[in-house]
Symmetry: C2
Subunit: 204 residues, 2 copies
């Protein structure tokens, strides 16, 4: 009974509407900022009134939670695609990993704010939404390990450096390239520091 055709159709419709709502929320977040989201605006964009959203999400933070899960799932797909690609020299793998994270982040500042900063008042990601974030971090950790970086401290350092470049770029020059242009040098700096073999890339 629980999975009768009727119920399937209903739950499919429901899931589709949820996606519509989330798309509207992403659009508004991109245009006006993540924290500027209002339920009335989101509802209007999908042809509803604000209270109707409560048929699909338990609260505004529940919408943020679903967006958080979507964003990390998307990034998980990207980072796992890198992992399953044919092997490359360690420094090239690290460069690609760093560049992928950097580009993903600066491409959509609102998404990066949701994924990596904790600035939405009262929002704490649920365990379910956090799962793809953990998986993405583990994928990155495996790729670090494949490059010979096994110590947790070294991994923390690498993550922090790339994240620092992202934040500096977004905070001081969103849309620019001043810190993005330092990314390859930063990776080589870490690789040198950790004794990773391979040629340095020429600085541009």
């Amino acid at each position: 009974m629980l999975d009768s055709p009727i119920r399937d159709r209903q739950s499919e419709r429901r899931a589709a509407t949820r996606l519509e709502i989330l798309d509207a929320a992403w659009g508004l977040a991109r245009e006006s900022g993540l924290a500027e989201l209002t339920l009335r605006d989101v509802a209007a964009r999908v042809g509803m009134r604000a209270p109707s959203l409560y048929s699909y999400f338990a609260s505004k933070n529940d919408i943020y939670d679903a967006m958080f899960g979507q964003a990390w799932s998307d990034y998980l797909t990207v980072v796992e695609a890198l992992e399953s690609a044919e092997p490359h020299p360690p420094r090239e793998t690290l460069r690609t990993l760093a560049r992928t994270f950097f580009d993903f982040a600066v491409a959509e500042p609102a998404r990066h704010q949701l994924m990596n900063q904790r600035t939405i008042p009262g929002f704490v990601p649920s365990e379910a939404a956090y799962a793809p974030a953990v998986a993405a971090l583990e994928s990155a950790r495996r790729q670090f390990r494949a490059c010979g970086i096994t110590s947790p401290e070294d991994f923390d350092l690498g993550i922090a450096v790339v994240g620092g470049l992202v934040n500096a770029q977004l905070a001081n020059e969103p849309g620019g390239h001043r810190w993005g242009g330092l990314l390859d040098r930063a990776v080589d700096m870490i690789a040198d520091h950790l004794g990773i073999p391979g040629p340095k890339r020429r600085t541009s």
Copy 2:
């Protein structure tokens, strides 16, 4: 007439009340979060009603602006004290500079959020409030230069790395020491990368 004794007393009282209001705002920001500030709560803490605050500040963002200016002025004092201290070996100077910024940031996450992240909706620091931030950055730049780091790109890289460690610490483990313990290593890594002479510090 404009600087009669009476007027002096009035403006002194006014400035004192402004400071009282800002102290109340800092206390609430520390306790409940920067974005959770409400004018009603701030006013209550100084024994006023919310509208009375408008006699001292033009808006809520004007309060944030004054807090922004205070925070950077405080940091400017700290960083200029470092600059006027007796010279030290380059790596030690860089370590002290990095540690000072790191400790200042993690000591008060709300203050760091206001100073270095742009997450308060609609808040853009005024030119006046931004001035001490520029001065602090210039002081840091001079100290980098005294260590032999003259290229703007190298400075950007150094700032970003330290900022990345701060953000990682605050985002993933506020109050902890996981990324703070990597700070000296990170400084040595940069110093090695840039060919700064001097002994490495033993890793802990």
